[in-house]
Subunit: 218 residues, 2 copies
DNA sequence: CCGTTTATATACATCGAAGTGTACAAATCG
DNA sequence: CGATTTGTACACTTCGATGTATATAAACGG
């Protein structure tokens, strides 16, 4: 309605020749930016302006590719999930599983962190990661049951082994990703250590469980 | 369930004879309720109405005890931190550290989860937990340096050992807290496994780093 | 060269949660 | 009993983030 401030014309040689992207490429770039932004501060604390700034454009553009913030977040998580499952496969705990996981994490560290450090805590989106963790726990349970007798410590190890694997990979990412050739082997060794800790012989003897039920721990 | 103390029903009109609490007790009860509420859905996604509902009173009452939502959250985290450090002490990795941690986690599971699963991800509050994690990593580093030579894998283990300890304790909580007498020993065994994985001899040989760049890394 | 797509810029609408104020009711204590 | 504390109920403002609309400019493709 009014002569709103029009963008100043190039007027110089150094025109910022913005390369226009096709819809699909732009969408991928937006997903990349959103992954970084969300991985930094989490879903609720990250505004769409942050995502837009990370992508280098304005908030209005986001709505040309995604219906809502939740829709965008879901797309981000979906892509990370697909990448991960494609890289690792849904198969068992064979020798190639951990190397594949390490490779996938190194290929998309932000997506990896986003899935396992943030999305698990978001009530509206954890269903996406829950499939992964449930499958992992199931696989771990089946694999561990070959050496650990049934009982609470088998359950404990089945929960802990996937979590430890994730934590070990993230710690490896945080440490600067030293030689990837060793990484998978080290992670595997750590997992083996947890398995050993869940064996019946791991604990020498059961200390008497404090017959007085009163909690003296103040 | 609401922890309103002995709500003696007068068996008369619809008057709920609620026992009024003193300021200190009410504050403690509010901290308990806030711990539960925040541990369930995280700080940003938890409204003050949720906390009030969890405590069994109205939102206005919260402002008689805390200046703001952030102030309340900080009080919650502070109390959890104090409890934890009091229970474990700030000393080294002696034999009593892990049992103390397990006992503290069992005494306040929600506070434990809140600290290490949520607060670490909140940019405005992670400083509280960062002191804990930094101290843990430092302690772990000093302890591990006695057996692991300096290098990236010592750093890796120093990051991973505290994280694994936390994860192992949380997995133990999630598994239903089976016999606490064994728990600390199992966790210690798992930690030992990670230490072993960081030793130089853990990985049998270093696979050649693939002089031909692209084998199948798609 | 012209139309379509891609993008900018900005203003506006909307909506939920935080934070505030006030009036009133009930319980405890002197 | 009467004063103070503790709590309810509700209305209200403030504020930031989401979501929408419109006008305009630049790049690409035929």
């Amino acid at each position: 309605m009014t002569g709103l401030g029009q963008a100043e014309p190039p007027a110089t040689e150094s025109v910022v020749r913005v390369r226009r992207l096709r819809r699909t490429e732009r969408r991928e770039q937006l997903l990349d930016a959103a992954t970084r932004a969300f991985a930094r501060t989490g879903y609720p604390a990250t505004g769409l302006d942050d995502v837009a700034a990370e992508a280098g454009l304005t908030r209005a553009m986001l709505y040309r590719h995604f219906d809502s913030k939740a829709d965008m977040y879901r797309a981000v998580l979906d892509r990370a999930c697909v990448r991960l499952t494609e890289a690792t496969g849904a198969d068992d705990f064979d020798d190639g599983a951990i190397p594949a996981l390490v490779r996938a994490a190194a290929a998309d560290p932000d997506g990896f962190r986003l899935l396992f450090r943030h999305a698990v805590r978001e009530p509206d989106f954890r269903d996406l990661v829950d499939e992964l963790t449930a499958a992992s726990r199931d696989i771990a349970h089946r694999s561990l049951a070959r050496t650990i007798p049934p009982g609470p410590w088998l359950d404990w190890a089945s929960r802990l082994v996937p979590a430890l694997t994730i934590e070990a990979v993230i710690a490896w990412l945080d440490a600067g990703q030293p030689d990837p050739g060793q990484a998978a082997e080290r992670v595997g060794q750590a997992v083996h250590g947890v398995m050993a800790a869940a064996l019946p012989g791991a604990v020498p003897h059961v200390p008497p469980p404090a017959t007085a039920p009163g909690t003296d721990d103040g």
